[in-house]
């Protein structure tokens, strides 16, 4: 199967970026060096091409009912231009995907949500099937290849975006979005991100992607830095920190119960009400390695006596802290910050400490 390409694939290649496969897409993983790109975002600003992210638009008279049914958060609470983090769960409350739902800046309720890379067809099917089963009057469209998506992130990002938009953006608060021209191109500009820094995400028309990309004069960054930045910020990565087949998790285990509103009727709601009542058997935590080594996906977490209590799901050498950090799950009872644990690295037990998944003090 050939890989899908973002509209600027040739532009990135000409810039010297290395590409990698991710979610069925061929995306830039590294432009210069992951460390340099990471530092630029923490200290100034960087721009990421995240056009591999999916976009699905939902409209029509029953759009709100359909979104409410298939996402865990309360879409009725959204005013035009509001965005919210939400879970897409199955009947058992297992997370199929995490997503940001936008109520588009229009009078009638219309929505756009952003499933993870390569999940667009699956979500389109899910939405269409539930619409038809319930006889709802709603349109569901896969717009993944209608939009390029860029993320401009870092302490200098608000100024860069204001320059590119040719008007102030400080009226756009966190988790809100508006249509704004960027270098003359109408885009959906959203105060959101995946780095733990200030910043914006931009949905630009596919055919005008290059004009919009060129409007931001900052460090181009690949998926490598996107991963190290989100690990430091404690953000989940679908397919790695949870996966419906290989690592099924509910939102309470993954620490995103804030994105679940049990007062709404959604697929998985009853199972999650019970799960919340019972309390999670494991919880998502940060793990800092105190010995030399790097925690990686799949490494076991044990007690000092060698009893297995969990596993690492993401890890790296933190470029900001210059220390090895990971994210993963440990049994209830070992989740307090400061708990002494071990991470098995190639058969060797390395000393480690449980922490908040938010490694940075910001």
């Amino acid at each position: 199967m050939s890989l899908r390409q973002p509209p600027l694939a040739a532009v990135h290649e000409a810039a010297g970026a290395d590409a990698t496969e991710f979610g069925g897409w061929e995306m830039p993983v590294e432009f210069d060096s992951i460390k340099d790109e990471h530092r630029a975002v923490r200290e100034a600003a960087g721009i990421f091409d995240v056009s591999h992210m999916s976009e699905v638009e939902v409209g029509g008279p029953d759009a709100e009912a359909l979104m409410q049914r298939l996402t865990s958060n309360d879409v009725a609470a959204l005013s035009p231009g509001d965005a919210q983090y939400s879970m897409i769960t199955d009947d058992e409350g297992i997370i199929l995907d995490d997503t940001v739902v936008y109520r588009l800046p229009s009078e009638t309720p219309e929505y756009l949500f952003v499933p993870n890379a390569g999940h667009d067809e699956q979500m389109l099917d899910r939405w269409t099937r539930h619409r038809d089963e319930r006889g709802l009057d709603a349109t569901v469209e896969n717009r993944t290849e209608a939009y390029a998506m860029f993320a401009v992130q870092g302490p200098d990002a608000p100024d860069l975006v204001a320059d590119a938009a040719d008007e102030a953006v400080d009226d756009l608060s966190r988790f809100t979005a508006e249509y704004r021209p960027i270098a003359g191109v109408e885009c959906l500009l959203s105060n959101t991100g995946y780095t733990g820094e200030a910043g914006f995400e931009v949905l630009a028309p596919w055919d005008e992607a290059e004009t919009v990309w060129d409007a931001f004069d900052c460090q181009p960054c690949g998926l490598g830095a996107r991963d190290t930045l989100r690990i430091e910020a404690g953000f989940l990565l679908a397919g790695q920190d949870f996966d419906p087949e290989e690592n099924p998790r509910n939102p309470y285990e993954t620490g995103v119960g804030f994105a679940v509103d049990l007062d709404t009727e959604f697929v998985g709601r009853d199972a999650l009400a019970s799960a919340k009542e019972a309390g999670p058997a494991q919880r998502f935590v940060g793990i800092r390695l105190l010995d030399r080594g790097v925690p990686r996906h799949g490494y076991p977490v044990t007690t000092a006596d060698g009893d297995r209590i969990g596993e690492v799901t993401s890890g790296t050498m933190s470029p900001t802290l210059s220390e090895p950090i990971g994210l993963g799950y440990v049994d209830a009872g070992y989740t307090d910050a400061g708990t002494d644990v071990r991470v098995e690295v190639r058969g060797q037990a390395k000393k480690a400490r449980v922490e908040s998944p938010k490694f940075l003090d910001r």
Binding site: V29, E30, S33, I34, K35, G224, D227, T228, R292, G293, V294, R296, T316, M317, P319, P324, R346
Partner: protein, 127 residues
């Protein structure tokens, strides 16, 4: 992209180099390999005095994005390791044929060197 491949040493297909100096052979990874890995953040090496076997794993090099096994170009006792890499693994990126060396091995069997690639042969492989 072009990479340095000095012809004063020999290479393994798995991208390690071996440079003989008297009875010892110094070992590291090639310029091509360090570029492929990206920012090196961790190196795991045997202890001095351990035995390594030609063609078998002797350690691990990790970059931010990848974990890669290291293979011994020649067999023998480890005479020295580059401890500077524990605090400054980026030396592997900055100077792969110099300050970024990894091991010195007491050469047991000179014929191990004959099985390695010349600089030219290695270049052809990575070209």
């Amino acid at each position: 992209m072009s990479f340095e491949t000095p012809d004063d040493r020999r290479y393994l297909e798995s991208h390690e180099w071996a440079h003989r100096d008297g009875d010892t052979v110094r070992v590291g990874i090639s310029d091509f390999a360090q570029d492929e890995l990206g920012d090196v953040v961790f190196v795991e090496l045997p202890d001095a005095g351990d035995e390594v076997t030609a063609g078998e794993e002797f350690g691990v090099v990790e970059s931010i994005k990848a974990v890669s096994d290291l293979y011994a170009p020649v067999g023998g006792e480890v005479a020295a390791i580059n401890e500077a890499l524990f605090d400054a693994p980026e030396l592997v990126n900055d100077d792969p044929y110099g300050e970024g060396w990894m091991l010195e091995i007491e050469l047991d069997d000179e014929s191990d060197l004959d099985d390695l690639l010349s600089a030219e042969e290695y270049e052809d492989q990575v070209a």
